[in-house]
Symmetry: C2
Subunit: 80 residues, 2 copies
């Protein structure tokens, strides 16, 4: 069994109102010196595949088809 972590983040230049809200909330809580905050998603996936190459190809296909919107988001896949 292979375990993988997929991280999906917004591309640079794409507005992130959720991240902005967190920035303001952190300042309000007294954390000074907080610059940009960007929020993304993480998926921990278990695969019954044993071939690492095949697993990685499958995971990339999952991102392209379902997990990420590649117009505005980047993704990275790491096998753990």
């Amino acid at each position: 069994m292979i375990k993988a972590r997929i991280t999906v983040t917004l591309k640079n230049g794409v507005l992130d109102p959720q991240g902005k809200a967190i920035e303001h909330a952190l300042s309000g809580l007294g954390f000074d010196g907080v610059g940009q905050v960007r929020q993304g998603k993480v998926f921990d996936v278990e695969l019954s595949e044993s071939d690492k190459g095949k697993a990685e190809a499958d995971l990339k296909a999952m991102c392209d088809k379902l997990l990420a919107n590649t117009v505005i988001e980047n993704y990275s896949v790491t096998l753990t």
Copy 2:
């Protein structure tokens, strides 16, 4: 300036309906052999701090106070 990535994931045993929905959607798309899927959140934070120790302590405080619900979620902080 320090850049950090905070990853917040659900603790084991906490139900994750969003992850379950993704499991089913992936099976529906023809991806066989997908086991458990768990969804989490990732925050990319920029700090104007230069002391790494201080930055790490601040980031953990941010998680405890705002970014994670430590009753049901784990978090990890990595400086990038």
